[in-house]
Symmetry: C2
Subunit: 92 residues, 2 copies
Amino acid sequence: MFKALANPHRLALFQRLLTCCAPGMACDPDEERHHVGQLGEGLEIAPSTLSHHLKELNRAGLVQMQRRGKHVECWVEPATLEALTAFLSGKT
Amino acid sequence: MFKALANPHRLALFQRLLTCCAPGMACDPDEERHHVGQLGEGLEIAPSTLSHHLKELNRAGLVQMQRRGKHVECWVEPATLEALTAFLSGKT
DNA sequence: TATACATTTCGAAACATGTCGAAGTGTAGA
DNA sequence: TCTACACTTCGACATGTTTCGAAATGTATA
């Protein structure tokens, strides 16, 4: 997990998912969740690179992904977040 | 900080400092704090590598270091730990 | 001061990661 | 079925990281 967050681009992507709304939820009940292309906006990386980074975040268990039509939705996995904070509080 | 914790050896070192006792304190009032050589025990890495890793943890603000005679004491910086958990709870 | 011990600095080799473009897959809509 | 869009996979190259041994520094003690 730490390895996944060690890259500036991946950390930026994760932070977007983290700060916009509650983990696992859409920002608004009516709104859609974030999708891949949207997360990459303003980051100035190629789509293939973006895809690679989100795959790493997914592999680490930090981010969940699911196809919905043309887009692929992304959201933070709350359980993994809890595991991380538990580690940092010494409850290993 | 995430970059510093992304390496297995550094994570192991950090975890030793984290789980043994309260951050910034000795395990026991009478005991000494951890020192560099002690932290590397069982990790099977060269002293120069050990030194390099602790330097990285120090650079990231996760670990404090201070020379005390022949040894160099190490302990976890509590403020940095708090900053990390704050980030993970979305309070950025 | 000479010696032993603990740790750091430096340079080099092996290995891992980040990045892209080109080509591929999956999906919606004409 | 054809086209456009969203994303992924692959292969290649540049860059960054890990690791070590040799040599240097710092500290206590004989």
